[in-house]
């Protein structure tokens, strides 16, 4: 099968030429938006916004990357020229593509995530840095840090007093 490589044809267009679509079901919570912003600061704009050209609107309509596009707005990083790729899709193919881009992704296995955080700590990063760059609150970092597991938390607790049931 011949696979097209649209990401080889990226162009920079003015932010005002790009608009959101009307059907995007994806929502990104605010803490993940902060992480996205941090990612763009740390790594630069690595993934272009995926669009189609709409002849009626004379605009590029977003298929994927609405939240990257949001980060370009004045109240976030205020990026005026945005990188896009343009696909040639009809409406149903566009909707399917939106779904595919949003859903075809993995999750992090909890214990491996915890390993990753511990190894960053060992490399000398402090909790605050990790919290900002990985978008994880410090309480979660504390939970991930503990190698010992939950039983250890009850090391110093005392057994409670026994009780019995008796007839009234």
């Amino acid at each position: 099968m011949k696979i097209k490589i649209p990401c080889m044809n990226i162009k920079l267009v003015s932010r005002d030429m790009v608009i959101a679509n009307s059907y995007n079901p994806n929502s990104v919570p605010i803490n993940k938006m902060e992480l996205l912003k941090q990612s763009i600061i740390d790594n630069g704009f690595c993934f272009p916004i995926v669009t189609i050209w709409d002849n009626d609107l004379e605009k590029y309509v977003i298929i994927d990357g609405f939240h990257r596009f949001t980060i370009c707005q004045p109240n976030w990083l205020d990026i005026t020229e945005v990188p896009i790729v343009v696909l040639d899709h009809d409406i149903s193919k566009r909707m399917a593509a939106t779904m595919q881009f949003n859903k075809a992704r993995g999750v992090h296995q909890v214990d491996l995530d915890a390993d990753l955080i511990r190894s960053l700590l060992e490399q000398g990063q402090n909790e605050e840095e990790i919290s900002i760059h990985l978008g994880i609150d410090t309480e979660t970092i504390h939970r991930y840090k503990s190698l010992t597991g939950i039983a250890e938390l009850f090391k110093n607790s005392q057994y409670s007093m026994s009780w019995s049931v008796e007839e009234e």
Partner: protein, 375 residues
């Protein structure tokens, strides 16, 4: 009436109770689930068995569709004192409710002929044949059309006489109601009145750690350096409250939520589950969505719960089960309060009526009437 004994902690009390069981019963079987409570109880009982050079049964009814961590935990318990353990690990075909799919509402675990898609192969030291005679089999569930989880338990218990079945049920744990129900009538064991158990046919079911709290359980596990299911540590890392952690079965109507976290906890188990039964992917993605499985919020294209219920009932794919729902609902009041609960039953495919419906007037309507009167 509950009475505290300030001279004795729960550990000493449980040891005394277990010692009493060993004095009064020759045959003892501990039910284990892989969870923390039954791990604690099994260890207490095994220690006593070891000290007395006796043998007890460890009974695990394997539902096939469980965490790998559960299986590892059971294997660990079976091997703490193998010389004192009678391995009662049952891997037989029976019916489980699959609340995640309407088309495949039933899962036959360990179904014959499907061994290629079983979650795992059977362990060679386990029990593969029903330990009771076919003609003696009872407790068929009419709604299920066969033997369910509790049916297997009952048949299994009926294979024994004068046996003490020990269960790690805690009064402060998951089922305070069940606890009150079982202790209503004390049982007489060789002249002693026992309030922490109940008679079951020719056997007794006993709850030696009924007064333990979750922190007592964890403290015991820590002190004795016991292994426990890693799922608890995963849940802790994900921010679950310590008292609400469960290692439950993966697919029945009260535990479908555990599927949401499964890809993050045990990706391999999740992959196998996707191949094993229908509905998993949908439940995993929507399990936390209050509209779907919890039926808290009415989907926006329906104007009332009654309309939504009628829609769900009309489009229900299995005619036999559809009738079960229709018949049950016909006995209910027709209001929004009841209809929402009916929607939840259909969505969770609860044809067995496990999530009982409160059949009463809509409390909101009452409130509206009240204000109408006042104003």
């Amino acid at each position: 009436m509950q009475k505290y004994d300030n001279n004795k902690n729960v550990l000493d009390a449980a040891k005394e109770r277990i010692s009493f069981v060993f004095d009064n019963f020759e045959n003892i079987i501990v039910s284990i689930s892989g969870g923390k409570d039954s791990t604690t109880l099994a260890h207490l009982a095994l220690t006593e068995a070891h000290n007395r050079s006796r043998k007890i049964g460890l009974f695990f009814l394997d539902e096939e569709v469980v965490y790998q961590n559960t299986i590892d935990q059971i294997e660990y318990l079976m091997n703490i004192y193998p010389e004192n353990t009678n391995r009662l690990w049952l891997q037989i075909e029976f019916l489980l409710t699959n609340s995640t799919s309407l088309e495949e509402g039933q899962l036959k675990c360990w179904e014959a002929g499907k061994h290629k898609i079983w979650m795992r192969s059977k362990g060679k030291n386990n029990i593969f044949a029903k330990p009771w005679a076919k003609e003696k089999e009872k407790y068929h569930n009419a709604a299920k059309g066969g033997l369910g989880f509790y049916g297997v338990l009952e048949n299994f218990q009926d294979c024994y006489k004068n046996t003490a079945f020990l269960v790690g049920l805690r009064a402060a744990g998951e089922s305070p109601n069940r606890w009150r129900a079982v202790t209503k009538n004390p049982i007489n064991i060789n002249g002693n009145k026992v309030y922490w158990g109940s008679k079951k046919g020719e056997n007794v079911v006993l709850y030696p750690i009924y007064d333990w709290n979750f922190h007592d359980i964890w403290h015991y596990i820590y002190d004795n350096k016991l292994r426990y299911s890693k799922i608890y540590d995963f849940q802790f890392k994900k921010g679950f409250g310590i008292s609400e952690m469960r290692v439950s079965s993966l697919i029945h109507e009260k535990s479908f939520k555990s599927i949401c976290e499964l890809p993050e906890f045990e990706p391999k188990t999740y992959d196998k589950l996707l191949k094993r039964i229908k509905g998993i992917s949908f439940a995993q993605e929507t399990g936390k969505n209050s509209k779907m499985f919890k039926a808290r919020k009415l989907p926006k294209n329906f104007k009332s719960w009654i309309v939504y219920r009628d829609f769900l009932l009309n489009t229900y794919p299995d005619p036999a089960k559809k009738n079960l729902f229709a018949k049950r609902f016909s006995k209910h009041l027709n209001n929004e309060f009841v209809a929402r609960q009916q929607c939840r039953q259909i969505i969770l495919n609860d044809y067995e009526n496990n999530l009982a419906i409160q059949n009463k007037p809509d409390p909101r309507e009452e409130l509206i009437e009240y204000y109408k009167g006042v104003l």
